[in-house]
């Protein structure tokens, strides 16, 4: 039982599910639910992004682009083409995956951090296209999004969305933990540990880095699509470079190569600006400072640092 609890894939997941189930006890109004839902949606993106940053050792500076593709894909396909929301979600996610593959495939064959540069460009192009193609996307003013309906049932209200996003987050974490604990996940971690030794063991670095990148894009697109339906209205800000930086900061603060760290990082940095409303105008400065300070003082991130401290005390 103890061993079962100590293992991330079982005990950690159980703790996360318990937190999701118990949290509503502390949520007293709709605004609280709203914040919790946004935390959950950001956490889904971060769990995916952490696979790329923490396990494949690559940085994406354009993940908000995939998020935006999911959001605008769903919005456009449902509003302009009358697609059912589930089909729109699947199609825009597949689109994001295909784009990640096309960008990642040639770039991740190279050693080094070229992916950061390529995704930076990709993210900027996506946000410019969204802002300028105003006949389809509504331009800088944004566009309305139809509610999510499935089998005649419409998802509406903060409480319903809380459970949907909570379930989606638990699923995302479960999928990520399973991946990490599989041959493919070990190959990724091995590449991080010693690329040359991993190659000599038969791991094709390009292949596994692309895999992590595509999966991270899928997580971002799904979260983007859910966000669009939940919020009912989207603007290009969600697909912006600044949002990409926020996402990276969440992963770095929470702890690279820690799935639960990604969730914690998303929770801290999503709620912080809400709690300290004074800081709202300086949000980007705060994110910049957090990123810098955590690289200097907590290079491994919150969760791994705390876990190591706890392990030392127990000994």
């Amino acid at each position: 039982m103890l061993a079962w609890l100590a293992r991330a894939r079982t005990g950690g997941l159980a703790a996360l599910v318990a937190a999701i189930v118990l949290l509503p006890l502390a949520l007293t109004n709709n605004y609280h639910y709203e914040v919790a839902i946004v935390v959950g949606l950001n956490a889904i993106v971060c769990v995916g992004l952490n696979l790329l940053i923490g396990y494949a050792g690559q940085i994406s500076l354009g993940h908000a682009g995939f998020y935006g593709l999911g959001a605008y894909g769903s919005a456009i396909l449902t509003a302009r083409y009358g697609w059912p929301p589930a089909a729109a979600l699947a199609a825009s996610t597949a689109g994001a995956a295909a784009l990640a593959y096309l960008v990642g495939r040639p770039i991740l064959k190279l050693r080094g951090h070229y992916l950061a540069m390529a995704t930076l460009g990709m993210g900027i192009i996506i946000s410019i296209v969204i802002a300028t193609e105003d006949r389809i996307t509504g331009g800088p003013d944004g566009m309305a999004v139809a509610p999510f309906t499935l089998l005649g049932y419409t998802l509406a209200g903060e409480r319903t969305w809380y459970w949907v996003v909570g379930a989606a987050l638990a699923l995302a974490v479960w999928l990520a933990l399973n991946l990490i604990d599989s041959p493919a996940g070990r190959a990724l971690r091995a590449l991080h540990g010693s690329e040359v030794a991993a190659q000599v063991a038969g791991v094709d670095p390009g292949r596994y880095k692309v895999l992590a990148f595509v999966i991270s894009a899928v997580f971002a697109a799904v979260a983007g699509s859910l966000t669009a339906h939940y919020a009912g209205f989207i603007t290009p800000a969600k697909a912006s470079f600044l949002h990409s930086i926020e996402l990276v900061t969440m992963v770095v603060l929470g702890g690279m190569a820690s799935t639960f760290g990604a969730v914690i990082g998303a929770a801290v940095l999503t709620t912080l600006p809400q709690v300290l409303t004074l800081l709202k105008d300086y949000e980007m400065m705060v994110f910049g400072a957090v990123l810098m300070l955590s690289m200097i003082f907590l290079p491994r991130g919150l969760v791994p640092t705390l876990a190591a401290a706890l392990a030392r005390r127990r000994r």
Binding site: N178, S182, P183, R186, S194, A197, A198, A201, G202
Partner: protein, 256 residues
């Protein structure tokens, strides 16, 4: 019939000819040693033999297939495994997980099945773990199985390198100074390990400075000096070759 044929292999770094037109054949099932003074090009040669470096000239034919210029993971897939002189351990993993990665080529799982942990995956994972543990026992470090690699002593890490290489179930294993930095007892264990490997039908290429170890286990020895093949032969022939003695003494004199 040779398992590995190396023809005119060369590698230059800038103007330095680290490996300079080396040719030799490795018979299947043999222990084939490569010796030579520091900087002779032994590690560079091994790096060529599993694709870490692309040769500037020459050919590498393994098991009848020309692998010249292929990526390292292709060499692995062809059946060549390797340990590193300067430890290349996955320090972000446990000892057992290091060995599991060594068996990567035999543990492919469809991605969707792995992520959804479909029935059968858990059992397959258990199977891999049993085999990996078996290898840790084979090299004598099973007590470290669940230890993070960065908490293991040097001698155990040297053996972890070997266990990980063996997990590939490769026909050819390249060992780069497996006894370097080990005490006599540990060295004797490596000696025995190489003999057991060889008895199990694995072909071994051994790079090692410990002459007692080399002379005791080798079927055939190639001597490198300044990137060139100085001579080759049995332990007896090499030991009595005046050029070999001179190369080593010359190197010792130059260092002194």
């Amino acid at each position: 019939m040779s398992l590995l044929a190396v023809e005119g292999l060369a590698k230059e770094f800038g103007g330095l000819k680290a490996v300079d037109g080396v040719s030799f054949d490795v018979r299947p099932g043999s222990v084939h040693s490569i010796i030579g003074p520091n900087g002779a090009g032994k590690t560079t040669l091994l790096n060529l033999l599993n694709g870490i470096y692309v040769p500037s000239a020459g050919r590498i034919v393994f098991d009848g297939r020309d692998l010249t210029g292929a990526a390292p993971h292709r060499f692995a897939a062809a059946g060549i495994a390797r340990t590193f002189q300067n430890l290349q351990i996955f320090f972000n993993m446990t000892a057992l997980e290091n060995v599991l990665v060594g068996g990567h080529l035999h543990a492919r799982a469809p991605l969707a099945a792995a992520m959804l942990r479909l029935p059968g995956r858990a059992e397959a994972e258990r199977g891999y773990r049993v085999q990996a543990l078996e290898l840790l026992r084979f090299v004598g470090i099973e007590e470290y199985a669940t230890a993070p690699a960065d908490a293991m002593p040097y001698g155990a890490l040297k053996r972890l390198e070997i266990a990980r290489a063996l997990a590939a179930l490769a026909g050819l294993v390249l060992l780069d100074e497996p006894a370097a930095g080990l005490n006599p007892t540990e060295t004797a264990a490596i000696d025995e390990l190489i003999k057991r490997l060889s008895a199990g039908g694995v072909t071994v290429i051994l790079v090692e400075h410990n002459m007692r170890l080399v002379m005791g286990v080798s079927d055939h020895i190639v001597v490198l000096d300044y990137g060139k093949k100085l001579t080759e032969g049995t332990a007896e022939e090499v030991r009595n070759d005046p050029r070999v003695i001179e190369a080593y003494l010359g190197a010792a004199a130059a260092e002194a």
